[in-house]
Structure formats: structure tokens, C-alpha cells
């Protein structure tokens, strides 16, 4: 009864061949990019006005032929600031990449902030052991992986709800992070891998290089491997995935493991920036920024739909917002309010856009 009649939609909707389907998927991927660009323009203009003094002053100067002087007085779009934005986005990008895997299966990982703290503690402690300092990076990542695999096992084999499992882990792993360092801050002024957090190659910060490498690898896994298709399939229809012979528990184990391992990598990056780690404070509410980036990127909260490019843009939007609001001198309190509203507004806009171009 709910089936569509055979002939009508088949002949009309599909006149423009396959390319239309491809076009739609491009639109979906590009998604929030226009909003990112708009935000950048907005902050650039506002920072110009800030630099010049007032709107009327800026207008006068442009009228008097000092157009380029006015334009280059903006601080947002300077190479230096954009590099700062990218560095600010880097750790969140890495966490959000892991979060993308998890949310694509219809799950959620609330524990990444805590895992980041615990992994950073482990990495710093190893860096302080003279003979084992070279284990710092691998041990940080492995610590994250272990916590992720524990999350994944509980979700995949005990069939516990991901929200509950990772909510528990959010608290428990935070405690473990404090336990590891005896509830003190661990320092290492001569951190061997500090270059990751502060160095650059041809002007491109290592943090940014790592983040983009993670995005590229994630893209490859999602779009070019069997595992990737299976992740989308599990999120799209878990029953059908099982009946198609997909080993659903293994897929779930992978996504939570990957999310944990990437939180471990994020920990290494963060520790390298700070030369220190504190089990209580590090990574607080990072999971929320990561989730926000994924959702801003157009990934469906129920799973099955989304892309890593969307997450990249989502993470950039968050970083641009934070940076831009500081740059134009908005108070800390209003930054919170504006960020929250932008996230809700952007997703609302996205829903509206998708539903108006919805399929037949």
C-alpha cells in the first residue's frame, strides 16, 4: 500500500541520470561550508571595524580611497591568525574524526575528553622515565585504544546503550586520569616530542599536519575500505546489516577503539603543546566540541549518513567561532551563549535545507 506505483517516479524522477544522485551527495558533503565562509567574512569585517574604530570611520576611509588600507587592517584573515585557528582546531579535529566513526554507527562517545586526560598523563609519565621516554607517544595512543576497546566491548557484546557506557566511562576514566598522576600535574620542561605541539614544517604547524593526516586516513577508511561501507551499513540499518552477513560487533568494536585511540593521539598533541598534563583539568568537555563538530558537519545523529569532510568543516566552524569572538573582544560569557546558539541555528538551517530537497 505504501509502495510507490512502478512507472511514475521511475520515469520522471530519474530522467536526469545518475549525475543527479551524485550532485545531491556533493551538496550534502559541502553542507556547512557556506556557513564557515560566511563566518570568516563576518569576523574579518568585524575585526576591521574594531581596528579602524567604528563603522562610520571605516566607511569614511573607504570613501576617501583608502580601501586596501582598511582591508589589510583586519586581523582575522591574517596568515598568523589563520594558523592559530588551525592549531586550535587540530585536537578537536582528531577527536571529532573518531567521533564521526562512532556517530555513523548510530552511537556516541562521551568519554573522549576523559580518555584524552588519562592518555596525556601516561604519555607525560613515560616521557619522564629516562630509558623509556621513546614509549611516550605509543603508550599515550595505546592507553586511549584500551579504553576505547573497553567501551566497544560493552556496547558490542553486552549490548549496553552507548550513551550509558560512555557516560560511565566519562566519569570513571576521569577518575583514573587523576589516579595515574596521584592527582597532581605532571610536567616535563624538556619534553622530547614538544615539536609536535609547537614546531612547523615550511610554516605549517605539526598539529595541523597530524589533524589533516587523520582526516585523510579516516576518509580512506570510510570510503575506500570494506570496513567503511560496513560502518555506514550498521548505522543505516543494523538488522539488515546483520542479515547481510556483516559482523556487527566487530564493526562496533572498531569504531569505539578508533575513537579511543584518536583521543590518545589528541592527548599526545595536547601534552606536546603544554609540556604538562593534569588529570583533573585536561580535556574537560572536549567531547562536546567533538560531537558539535560532527553534527555541524551534517552527520546524522541516528547514524548511516555523514562524511568526514563535513566533520572537518564543523571543527573549523567551532574554532573560527572561538577565535573570532575573542578577536573582536566579545566577553567570555557571551562567547558561550553565541557558540551554543550558532550550533543549534546551523543544524536547524541544515535540516531545513535537507527537508526542502528531500527525496520523493
Amino acid at each position: 500500500m505504501t509502495e510507490k506505483p512502478e512507472s511514475a517516479p521511475a520515469s520522471t524522477a530519474q530522467k536526469g541520470p545518475d549525475s543527479r544522485a551524485r550532485f545531491q551527495s556533493v551538496v550534502r558533503t559541502v553542507g556547512m561550508a557556506p556557513i564557515l565562509i560566511l563566518l570568516c567574512l563576518l569576523f574579518e569585517v568585524l575585526s576591521i571595524v574594531n581596528a579602524v574604530g567604528s563603522w562610520s570611520e571605516a566607511f569614511n576611509q573607504v570613501m576617501n580611497g583608502h580601501f586596501w588600507d582598511v582591508v589589510i587592517s583586519g586581523r582575522f584573515a591574517s596568515a598568523q591568525n589563520l594558523s592559530i585557528v588551525a592549531q586550535q582546531a587540530a585536537v578537536n579535529m582528531v577527536l571529532a574524526a573518531g567521533m564521526t566513526f562512532v556517530i555513523l554507527t548510530g552511537g556516541i562517545d562521551l568519554s573522549v575528553g576523559s580518555i584524552l586526560a588519562a592518555a596525556a598523563m601516561v604519555a607525560l609519565i613515560f616521557s619522564n622515565i629516562p630509558d623509556l621516554w621513546w614509549l611516550a607517544i605509543p603508550m599515550g595512543v595505546v592507553t586511549g585504544l584500551i579504553f576505547g576497546v573497553i567501551n566497544g566491548s560493552l556496547v558490542a557484546y553486552l549490548r549496553l546503550p552507548p550513551f550509558i557506557v560512555t557516560l560511565g566511562a566519562l566519569t570513571a576514566v576521569r577518575g583514573i586520569a587523576r589516579l595515574i598522576g596521584d592527582d597532581k600535574t605532571v610536567f616535563n620542561a624538556d619534553l622530547q616530542f614538544a615539536v609536535i605541539g609547537n614546531g612547523a614544517v615550511y610554516g605549517v604547524p605539526w598539529l595541523v599536519i597530524i589533524a589533516f593526516a587523520v582526516i585523510l586516513v579516516s576518509w580512506f577508511v570510510l570510503r575506500r575500505t570494506v570496513l567503511g561501507v560496513h560502518i555506514y551499513a550498521v548505522g543505516g540499518n543494523e538488522d539488515a546489516a546483520r542479515l547481510s552477513g556483516i559482523k556487527v560487533p566487530l564493526v562496533l568494536l572498531f569504531v569505539y577503539g578508533a575513537s579511543g585511540a584518536l583521543a590518545g593521539l589528541g592527548a599526545v598533541m595536547q601534552a606536546a603543546r603544554l609540556y604538562a598534563a593534569n588529570g583533573l583539568q585536561l580535556g574537560q568537555s572536549y567531547e562536546l566540541d567533538a560531537i558539535a563538530a560532527v553534527i555541524l558537519g551534517g552527520t546524522s545523529f541516528v547514524g548511516g549518513i555523514g562524511s568526514i569532510w563535513g566533520t572537518l568543516i564543523g571543527a573549523l566552524i567551532i574554532a573560527v567561532l572561538s577565535n573570532g569572538l575573542v578577536l573582536i573582544g566579545i566577553s567570555d560569557i557571551w562567547q558561550f551563549i553565541i557558540k551554543g546558539l550558532v550550533i543549534i541555528g546551523a543544524v536547524a538551517l541544515d535540516r531545513y535545507r535537507l527537508s526542502s530537497s528531500a527525496r520523493t
Binding site: 500500500m1 505504501t2 509502495e3 510507490k4 506505483p5 512502478e6 517516479p9 521511475a10 524522477a13 530519474q14 530522467k15 536526469g16 541520470p17 545518475d18 543527479r20 544522485a21 551524485r22 551527495s25 575506500r224 575500505t225 570494506v226 570496513l227 567503511g228 561501507v229 560496513h230 555506514y232 551499513a233 543505516g236 540499518n237 538488522d239 539488515a240 546489516a241 546483520r242 542479515l243 547481510s244 552477513g245 556483516i246 559482523k247 548511516g304 549518513i305 527525496r359 520523493t360
Partner: protein
């Protein structure tokens, strides 16, 4: 008949039609019921019983032109609330109680009693007690519904109808989940309601129930009204004939006794049981043979197929493939061994509606084709998709279109091609032509014939009797979790719709062949 001649029937439905888009679900059905009558409504799956009852209960609106009269007065039933107000109550197979609430709260659901804006539980409980007592309930109004058995929950639903002063009570296969003792209790309750003057419309597939209860029986077939029999006219043969009596149309290849060439024993199911719906089932399918698994909805056919496929766990039984004992613990193990299952619910359990036709077709074989490290072989995937679209005549603009935008028939072909890509030796097809238009239907039949010719062992679950008769070499009929009988097409056990229906409903219990 339990009615006085000078009063109008409590319910009169005439010329009821219902069209969904272009599909005619009901084509001029009538139904008359009197107060103090138990009126059975029978028909095959898909005959239109549910649609008719949904119109009566206000869930659907009938097309214009029909007429519904209650006690002689024409009425419009434009929603569930209107139906309730007119005294029509429906008890569906899936009970509609809130298990987290008490019996009294459920009885008053939507009509809660309140005192100065606050809910008045005490009065609701006082108010429910006499109804429960009258119906012979041995639980009180404060009991949580989640603590009650299925039979007791049914009683709560009946109490709700009685409490709402329902004049017409529709019961949709109320005994499916009941034990025989519970069934007896239900029957005496139904008779009590009848004696109190209620009109009861009783939907059932089971001959013996209809014999025991019904004053009259109306039969629907293919959305049309076939006729009504009084108790005196009732006979099993007559009912079965009314329910199935139609021509087998010409599009079944194997129409007249032309069987597939069958080979060695391929699939052997021995003593399967799952402790719930499947009680004890054994059956065999040979290479190149098409065996139909017939039976009413709820007889355990789908459950059996899922057990064979490893999708659910069984508690006993052995599985043999080509003379080898095998253990299939999961669908992935089954597919790897060459057993494939087509689900009856392609949208909920089969397809990935947001994914492309290409991905849907390749989903079960991406892993098999993949290169080192699980890197997709996009070339062979694209070739598979293109070939499948061509061979199965899937009407789609290209492989990258989302499956959700396709028509039912084309979606089914996509799902079928996913199975076929795994090169199965045994195919379990659960309602392969459900919700599929006639063109795609005949193509699916053609495909089944071709696969059988290539030596695949095929087990088809179908509720459509002409289809069962038209495509199968042998029919296994299930009833209540066991094999009720087998029809091999011989003179003693001919494959006819009547013979299948007799076995499926229990009109005849002796297993032929």
C-alpha cells in the same frame, strides 16, 4: 439469529471501498451485524479484513460512496475518537495497553477521572472494580499491567471496551497467543458479552473457533465481499472454497504439472525448535527443487527460516547441507556456507534505504572481493551493480541512486541481487513478492525458475496461495509451529489451494503423503 425482526441491525456497512493510490484494497464490501451476535470474519491474508476493520475503527476513511449505519442511523466515522464515541471498540492482536500503568488507569486511558484538576485514582479504581468482577477477573484494579499474562491483558482490553459502553466489539485473532485453557475462558467471556447484547465481530483463521462461536460467517477475498453463511449453512469445504476460489492466472511458468528437475538432497532440517513459535519442524529441499512453506501468519514459517539462516538461536535440531552436518551460528556463517535468506520485511530488515543501489547490491560481497587490507575493489563492485541492474531489469537511472527512492518491485530486485551475488546453494525466500507489482512479480518467478534450473535449492515462504500452487514442486504446510502436512502433487496429496488451506487452518489434520 439473535435479533428481533422489528429492530435495525446494530451495524450495517455497505459498498465500502478503499483505494490506496492506485491499489484497490476494498472493492465494495458489506457487513451486517446484530446485537447479541458473534459474527466471524474470514479470508486469506490480504483479503481486506484488517482494512475493513480499520475503517470501522476510524483508523482509515473509506472512499466516498459507501455507507455505514449504526442501529439504522447513518454515521460518519472520521477518526478513532469518533468510533469510540459511537461505541465501537477494537482489540488488535498487538494489545494497546500501557504496561507501566495499573489496570484501572488503562481502563480509563484517555478518559481519566479527575478531582479539581488532579487525577482521582481512588475513584478510577472503585469504578473499574465492578467491571472486572463481572468479567470474572481474578486480579484487582491496582495491578500493574506488566504483571499480567497475555490472556489477562486481553481481559483488561475487554474491560475497557465494556466500561466505555461499547456496542460493537471487534476482536482480531484473539487466540493466537493463548493456551487452550485460556482460549476456553475467553470463549465463555465472549458468549457472556453476546448474551448481554453486544455485537462481536470475530476475525479468525481457525476453523474450529469459527465453528464453536460464530452465529454467522462473512468471507472476504481480494478486497471483495464473497458472501455470508449462517450457522446452519456452515461447512469447512464451503468456507475454504469461498476463501480461495479464484483462477490461477497464466503467469506461473510451472502451471500445469511441469516440475523442476531435482537433484540430490541439499538442505535437511531435522527437529528444529526455538522454544517459542517453532515447536518441531523437519523438512528437506533437493537441489533444483522449489519447496513452498505455507501456513497462516504466526504459524512459525518466518521463525523457522531465520533459525536455518542462523539469525536466531534454536534450542534443538540438526542442519545438514549436501549430506554434511553444519552449524550456522550467524548470518555471516550461513552466507559463507551458501545459505541465503530474503527477509519478508525488506525496508526494516533488508535494505539500507539511504545507501545507493550500488552499495546495496554489493554489501554482502564487498569483503569477499576486497584487496589487501580490506580496500574496496571498486571496479568489480561497479561491474556487479551494472550487471545486476541489467539482468534483473531493475528500473533505476544509475547505480548511485538511493534505494529508498525506488518502487517496491525494484527494491525487492535490489535485495534479491545482493543475495544472488553470494552465489547461494540454498535460498530461503520469505514472501518474495510481497508489496510488489505484477510485472516485477512475474520477473521474480522467472528468476526463481532459472535459479532452480541451475541447481539451487529454494524454499519459498508465501501467504499467497495461487503463488504457492503456481511455483512449487512440493508444499510443506505449517500450523502452530509444527508441520501440519506435506503436499507432493501426487494423486493422494495434490497441490491445491483447498488442500493447503485445510491443512493450514486445521480443517483437516491428517498429514498426507
Amino acid at each position: 439469529m439473535a435479533s428481533t425482526a422489528d429492530t435495525a441491525p446494530i451495524l450495517e456497512m455497505r459498498e465500502i471501498r478503499k483505494t490506496f493510490f492506485t491499489v484497490k484494497a476494498l472493492t465494495g464490501v458489506e457487513l451486517t451485524a446484530w446485537s447479541g451476535e458473534i459474527h466471524a470474519l474470514m479470508g486469506e491474508n490480504g483479503a481486506g479484513k484488517s482494512t475493513l476493520m480499520k475503517i470501522l475503527s476510524g483508523a482509515y476513511r473509506a472512499d466516498v460512496g459507501g455507507e455505514i449505519k449504526l442501529a439504522g442511523q447513518p454515521v460518519t466515522i472520521d477518526g478513532p475518537l469518533a468510533a469510540k464515541r459511537l461505541g465501537i471498540a477494537v482489540i488488535y492482536q498487538e494489545l494497546s495497553l500501557s504496561p507501566n500503568l495499573t489496570v484501572a488507569e488503562n481502563i480509563h486511558l484517555g478518559r481519566e477521572l479527575s478531582k479539581s484538576g488532579l487525577i482521582d485514582r481512588a475513584r478510577m479504581e472503585r469504578d473499574s472494580a465492578p467491571v472486572l468482577e463481572r468479567l470474572g477477573a481474578d486480579f484487582g484494579p491496582k495491578t500493574l499491567v506488566s504483571d499480567l499474562s497475555i490472556a489477562e491483558r486481553q481481559l483488561v482490553e475487554i474491560a475497557r471496551a465494556v466500561h466505555a459502553d461499547a456496542r460493537i466489539l471487534v476482536m482480531d485473532e484473539p487466540t493466537t497467543a493463548l493456551s487452550s485453557r485460556e482460549t476456553d475462558r475467553l470463549f465463555s467471556l465472549v458468549r457472556q458479552l453476546k448474551a448481554e447484547g453486544m455485537a462481536i465481530i470475530y476475525i479468525s483463521h481457525r476453523m474450529n473457533e469459527v465453528y464453536e462461536l460464530a452465529d454467522r460467517v462473512s468471507v472476504l477475498r481480494d478486497g471483495g465481499y464473497v458472501g455470508t453463511l449462517t450457522r446452519a449453512e456452515l461447512s469447512a469445504e464451503r468456507l475454504v472454497k469461498m476463501m480461495v476460489g479464484r483462477d490461477i492466472s497464466g503467469f506461473y511458468k510451472k502451471a500445469q504439472g511441469e516440475h523442476h528437475k531435482t537433484g540430490a538432497l541439499m538442505l535437511e532440517v531435522k527437529d528444529f525448535a526455538d522454544g517459542r513459535r517453532v515447536k518441531n519442524v523437519s523438512l528437506t529441499v533437493r537441489a533444483g527443487e522449489v519447496v513452498a512453506l505455507a501456513g497462516l501468519v504466526g504459524s512459525g514459517r518466518t521463525e523457522l527460516a531465520r533459525l536455518v539462516f542462523g539469525a536466531d538461536k534454536r534450542i534443538s535440531g540438526d542442519l545438514w547441507l549436501e549430506g554434511q552436518r553444519v552449524e550456522l551460528h550467524s548470518p555471516s556463517a550461513a552466507l559463507a556456507t551458501g545459505v541465503a535468506y530474503l527477509t519478508e520485511d525488506r525496508k526494516a530488515q533488508g535494505l539500507f534505504l539511504d545507501m545507493s543501489v550500488h552499495d546495496n547490491i554489493n554489501l554482502a560481497v564487498f569483503g569477499r572481493d576486497a584487496g589487501r587490507g580490506g580496500v574496496l575493489d571498486l571496479g568489480s563492485a561497479a561491474r556487479r551493480a551494472t550487471t545486476a541492474i541489467e539482468v534483473l531489469k531493475i528500473r533505476v537511472a544509475g547505480p548511485h541512486v538511493e534505494v529508498g527512492t525506488l518502487s517496491g518491485g525494484n527494491q525487492q530486485k535490489v535485495l534479491l541481487s545482493r543475495l544472488l551475488e553470494t552465489a547461494p546453494r540454498v535460498l530461503l525466500l520469505d514472501e518474495p513478492t510481497r508489496g510488489v507489482d505484477i510485472g516485477a512479480k512475474s520477473e521474480i518467478y522467472r528468476l526463481i525458475d532459472e535459479l532452480a534450473a541451475r541447481g539451487v535449492a529454494i524454499l519459498v515462504i508465501s501467504s499467497e496461495l495461487p503463488e504457492v500452487v503456481g511455483i512449487s514442486d512440493r508444499v510443506v504446510v505449517m500450523r502452530d509451529g509444527i508441520v501440519a502436512g506435506e503436499l507432493d502433487g501426487s494423486a493422494e496429496a495434490p497441490i491445491t489451494q483447498e488442500a493447503i488451506m485445510e491443512l493450514a487452518t486445521g480443517a483437516k489434520t491428517t498429514a498426507a503423503a
